[in-house]
């Protein structure tokens, strides 16, 4: 079927059954209606800048190059296949790609096989499905581009051989919104400023979002789970990170949020839960410019709520909830965190292991919260001793440390105004809360106990009565036998 359907400027040729090669005629080469690949390239070649091309359903093969401002809209999700190489390359500004299925790029990391390669600004890549791709959408010098509502599924490869689902290189003022990334390496921003990253979802990637040397980036409302690291910020500044859900990030690094040598950040109302480390702070803030605020975050049920390197200073951690982290705040190595504030303007954080009370009802405990646990102190120095966590020795050591002040370590930090109720948290946690055991489970276990006790005590009368009954029967049988 030769379904060439083009909208060229205002001329509509949609669903023409035959003889619709007219659009290609002027170009001087055969449009080959039999071959959809030739047809598509022909349509692109013949279109004028600013045209919209409705690509009919079907399967096409890459690489397809677009070198003028065009809008390509897939009708009923046509498939663009890459095979062993790339799929789509955009070399002109103002190109829109929407509604396609882009399947299977090559897997060469050397050539960086990519589904959509953008080398010009203001591209719009939206509502596509990218599947089995090495690199997904690769923006280079593509300022003002929009990547929205795409699904990007990586290749089933070892993490070291995967590519980035989304990569921005020197692409300022881009918007990345509503995408779903799975099984890729990173979604990474290199040297890009003014980028907005909003409401994306990421699963089983290396880094959910990774910033390198970028600035003025807003990361909000994303749902990044089961990656190695949720958000990893390196050498960047001017960051607003809010209302993200960073959960179950337990790969080799295993941070919900990592900050390395970055500046000027406000991290608020995020939920970090069930990560190996909720927040990891290394050399941040790097200089002293701008705020370094952590506020209103919920850090719950992580192995470690917040890890800071000993040299870190100048962070303001206040109004957060630290709930049931195996270790609430850790120092990686020797040292204290006294150069960071854990309370600001007489408001500290909520700590689930705080033992104080609130006498005057202002929501602030009357005694300070000190983090000075001997076992934590030991494991901060010698992490392999974490093997003994949750054992009786762990408890015994803490008990001794409380009872014998001589062996009690110096406090890692002090929160002078700990909150006695957790502040309301940002991102939704309903999906993460565990189920309560059913009454049935409790009853069943109790019934097992009762059954065994019954077996022990009821059996003897039963057995003896059975024996009695048996011997009675025997006697009857004997008598019957004797009489006959």
């Amino acid at each position: 079927m030769c379904g060439v359907s083009t909208v060229i400027a205002t001329v509509v040729l949609f669903g023409v059954a035959a003889g619709s090669t007219a659009a290609c005629d002027g170009h001087g080469e055969s449009c080959g209606c039999e071959d959809p690949d030739v047809t598509l390239r022909c349509m692109i070649a013949d279109a004028s800048p600013g045209d919209t091309i409705l690509v009919p359903p079907g399967a096409y093969h890459g690489p397809i190059v677009i070198d003028k401002p065009l809008t390509l809209i897939g009708v009923d999700r046509p498939t663009l296949r890459g095979g062993s190489g790339d799929i789509l390359e955009i070399n002109a500004a103002n190109v829109t790609i929407s509604g396609f299925l882009l399947a299977a790029t090559g897997d060469s990391l050397e050539r960086e096989n990519c589904a959509v390669r953008v080398n010009a600004g203001s591209a719009v890549i939206e509502d596509n499905i990218l599947y089995d791709v090495l690199f997904g959408i690769d923006l280079k010098n593509a300022a003002g581009s929009v990547i929205a509502r795409n699904y990007i599924g990586g290749k089933d490869l070892d993490i070291a051989r995967r590519g980035d689902g989304i990569r921005l290189y020197r692409s300022d003022a881009a918007t990345i919104e509503g995408n779903v990334l799975e099984d890729g390496r990173d979604a990474i921003l290199w040297y890009s400023t003014g980028v907005v990253v909003r409401e994306n979802t990421s699963r089983r990637c290396r880094y959910g979002f990774h910033l390198m040397f970028s600035g003025d980036v807003t990361i909000e409302g994303n749902d990044l789970q089961e990656n190695s690291v949720g958000v990893y910020i390196m050498y960047s500044k001017g960051l607003t990170i809010r209302e993200n859900l960073l959960a179950k990030n337990r790969g080799p690094s295993g941070y919900g949020l990592g900050l390395k040598e970055s500046d000027d950040y406000t991290i608020s109302r995020n939920t970090m839960t069930a990560n190996r480390v909720g927040v990891y702070v290394d050399g941040s803030p790097f200089t002293v410019e701008g705020p370094a605020d952590f506020t209103g975050n919920l850090l719950a049920c992580n192995d470690v709520g917040m890890t800071m390197l000993p040299s870190v200073k100048g962070n303001r951690v206040h109004g957060n909830s630290f709930i049931d982290n195996a270790e609430q705040v850790a120092v990686a190595g020797r040292g204290e965190l006294i150069d960071n504030d854990f309370d600001v303007e007489k408001r500290g954080n909520y700590w689930s292991d705080y033992g104080g009370y609130d006498a005057d009802g202002d929501g602030i405990g009357e005694a300070e919260f000190e983090s000075r646990k001997l076992f934590e102190n030991l494991t901060d120095h010698r992490p392999e001793l974490r093997l003994f966590r949750y054992g009786p020795v762990h408890e015994a050591i803490e008990f001794v440390a409380r009872a014998v002040p001589a062996v009690r370590p110096e406090p890692k930090f002090v929160d002078w105004y700990p909150m006695t109720t957790p502040p309301p948290s940002g991102a939704a946690v309903a999906s993460l809360s565990a189920r309560g055991p059913t009454v049935r489970t409790g009853l069943a276990l109790t019934a097992v106990a009762a059954l065994i006790a019954g077996l022990a005590f009821a059996s003897s009368p039963i057995a003896s009565s059975l024996r009695r009954a048996a011997s009675g029967a025997r006697r009857l049988a004997f008598r019957a036998g004797g009489e006959s």
Binding site: N302, E384, R386, A434, G436, G442, L443, L445, R474
Partner: protein
């Protein structure tokens, strides 16, 4: 009996035959087991330990349910960690002392001699002791976890029903791995007070000694993470803890580098490794007990 069996008439012999045979091996074993179970459940120490186990379990569940109420979140946090600690402390003590009182007191009183002249083999006596005591432990653990589960469900606390059952089952495995050495102790000692003393000493050594010793060794000898992990496998308490932790998300990385090593090296085979270690703690002491018990004059 013999007169009954020598009656004529083939029509009724089938029904009589079963009644006339000496009790079968299975039913003897069952009867012995139930008698041992009854004896264990009635032992003063056992009742006290069970009461302590249940009370503490209820306390832990109640407190953690209250605390989790504020957010509805409870990771591995309070409930399970508390219950694991409780199991590690009390279950081995219960199982070891119960095992230690399996043979020695009866030998001291002389009732063992009476039992052994009955038509039962020594292996049966030993096996019945083990099964009976294990069943008693199952009852105690099921009661503790069952009531804890009820408290949790009534207070709306957070703990997966599956994980509660799983933890209870692992506690039973640990109990069996402690009943067996207890029986071995009981067989080896002549006096019951000595047997109980050794049992408590072994408990103390396992609960505190092995962990503290390993920690000290790790510091002094600079044990690497993997050496620490393998050393930990030697202690059934440590194995129980790792097994219980490994269940919640199938990784052990909460235990730091040693746990990471275990996860990376063994992965899905970890439960097999743990069950192997536990099986060794059950089979080897029982075998030793059997050898000694059958060789001895009494």
């Amino acid at each position: 009996m013999s007169t009954i069996c020598n009656t004529r008439g083939l029509g009724v012999t089938m029904a009589r035959a079963s009644a006339c045979r000496p009790p079968s091996v299975a039913s003897t074993f069952l009867r012995l087991t139930i008698a041992d179970l009854r004896q264990a459940l009635l032992a003063r120490w056992f009742v006290l330990y069970t009461a302590a186990f249940v009370t503490l379990g209820l306390g832990i569940s109640y407190v953690s349910a209250m605390a989790a109420g504020s957010t509805g979140l409870d990771g591995f946090g309070r409930t399970s960690a508390g219950l694991i600690n409780l199991v590690i402390l009390i279950v081995p003590l219960m199982a070891l002392t119960a095992g230690a009182s399996a043979i020695a007191p009866q030998r001291e009183r002389g009732s063992l001699a009476y039992l052994l002249v009955q038509p039962v083999s020594r292996g049966e006596v030993l096996g019945a002791r083990f099964v009976g005591l294990s069943l008693a432990m199952v009852a105690s653990i099921a009661l503790g976890f069952g009531l804890s589960g009820l408290i949790l469900s009534l207070k709306g606390g957070a703990a997966d029903p599956g994980s509660l059952v799983r933890l209870a089952s692992l506690a039973v495995v640990l109990a069996m791995a402690m009943v067996a050495p207890g029986i071995a102790i009981s067989v080896m000692t002549r006096r019951s007070s000595v047997a109980s003393g050794i049992a408590v000493f072994v408990w103390l050594a396992l609960v505190f000694g092995s962990d503290l010793g390993l920690m000290a060794a790790a510091g002094a000898m600079h044990l690497r993470a993997q050496e620490l992990f393998y050393a930990g496998l030697a202690s059934p308490l440590q194995v129980f803890k790792m097994w219980a932790l490994c269940g919640t998300d199938a990784t052990l990385d909460i235990l730091g580098p040693a746990g990471l090593y275990a996860t990376d090296t063994f992965g899905a085979r970890l439960p097999w490794l743990f069950s192997g270690a536990m099986a060794a703690w059950i089979v080897l002491p029982l075998a030793a007990a059997w050898v000694i018990f059958t060789r001895r004059s009494q």
